[in-house]
């Protein structure tokens, strides 16, 4: 979580004592998984770098007209999904990514900023946010890459035949839609993904 403390972004909201972190993870079933940061958001458009004023004026008016003020306010606060659609489509808030497996231990990660139809005034901001998050000089990728690299090294360890993804097993709940929900730091999403992967990739 070091990255969250070191750049100013919406992720700032999840820094601190674990009990004060409101973000959750959800296992939707069939390998589809989600991180929902929005319970930790305090203001609107935190997912858009706290955009306000003229930058969102036209969008706010159009969505309020279309969806009514109540639904619109929820959309402005929650923002787009942070979710993995099984097996390899990642909706990364304002980015879309595809993971293309190449061989064992090798994949290509394609990504693009998501531009809103009819809101060209956001394009510049979204492009810069995508570069800062995932670009060749980004702030987000360095830590993710190092974590992924260490996980990969850990998988090669021969001291234990077990790979335990047990974090949070004791505190998961099932919501009204049948989704498994837990604290954002729990491995609920890892379990959801790999359970389904095993089911579709094995003959048993």
């Amino acid at each position: 979580m070091a990255l969250f403390r070191t750049i100013r972004s919406q992720y700032q909201r999840v820094v601190g004592d674990e009990r004060s972190i409101k973000a959750v993870v959800r296992d939707w079933g069939r390998g589809h998984i989600e991180i929902d940061w929005s319970p930790g958001y305090e203001g609107l458009f935190e997912w858009l770098g706290n955009a306000a004023g003229p930058a969102v004026e036209r969008f706010v008016a159009a969505i309020e007209r279309r969806d009514g003020p109540e639904v619109a306010q929820r959309r402005f606060r929650e923002g787009p999904a942070h979710a993995l659609i099984f097996p390899n489509l990642f909706l990364g808030e304002t980015n879309i990514a595809i993971v293309q497996p190449v061989s064992v231990e090798e994949c290509v990660h394609w990504h693009t900023p998501m531009f809103w139809k009819g809101v060209p005034e956001w394009n510049g901001r979204l492009l810069r946010m995508a570069e800062a998050g995932m670009g060749p000089a980004s702030f987000l990728m360095p830590d993710d890459l190092i974590v992924a690299g260490r996980n990969q090294l850990g998988l090669r360890a021969r001291t234990s035949p077990w790979l335990l993804l047990g974090r949070g097993l004791d505190r998961e709940t099932v919501d009204g839609d049948g989704r498994i929900v837990s604290h954002v730091t729990d491995e609920t999403t890892n379990r959801g993904f790999f359970h389904h992967l095993r089911a579709v990739m094995s003959e048993v």
Binding site: A2, T6, E131, A132, G135, P136, A137, F139, M141, P142
Partner: protein, 161 residues
């Protein structure tokens, strides 16, 4: 005709900028920018603007501060040990000098970067739009065209080139 003194002053400014970066004196380095200054590294030389086009860097002062804060933050463990860099700046030419003393300068650079045991080399050209102020030159725009910008790297860039 550009005077020798102005040429000297611009070259000294570029050397000082490189020195501050190499000594990781990023706050002083950042103070060399005007308030509306932009640091821009296009993907390749044909780009004429960062506005609405992809870039490797396209940072205003605010984003530069964020990058500096992240790199220097004690919890940014992916950034430890801190990057070592060594810039060699050369071939300084003043392309244009306005009546108010503002200049457009071009130069070439070679930067060696050290991260743990890995050394990388980046080289290319700078274009500086410099504003003449009472405190000396300030950078309004620094464009960096990296000759090897399109190469594949194992790790992303974290420090300004």
């Amino acid at each position: 005709m550009v005077s020798e003194a102005d040429h000297r002053a611009v070259a000294d400014f570029l050397y000082r900028e490189a020195r501050l970066a190499d000594e990781a004196r990023y706050a002083e380095w950042l103070a060399l920018w005007t308030d509306d200054g932009v640091y821009w590294m296009p993907p390749e030389p044909s780009y004429t603007t960062w506005d609405g086009t992809p870039a490797i860097f396209a940072e205003d002062k605010n984003l530069m501060r964020v990058r500096m804060g992240r790199v220097l933050h004690p919890d940014a463990w992916s950034q430890r040990p801190l990057w070592g860099t060594n810039h060699v700046v050369s071939n300084v030419i003043i392309e244009k000098e306005g009546p108010n003393g503002d200049v457009i300068a071009r130069s070439r650079f070679h930067m060696m970067e050290l991260r743990r045991d890995d050394v990388r080399h980046f080289a290319g050209s700078y274009m500086h739009q410099l504003k003449k102020t009472a405190e000396g030159y300030r950078i309004k725009l620094q464009r960096v065209d990296m000759t090897n910008a399109q190469a594949a790297y194992d790790y992303v860039l974290q420090i300004w080139v």
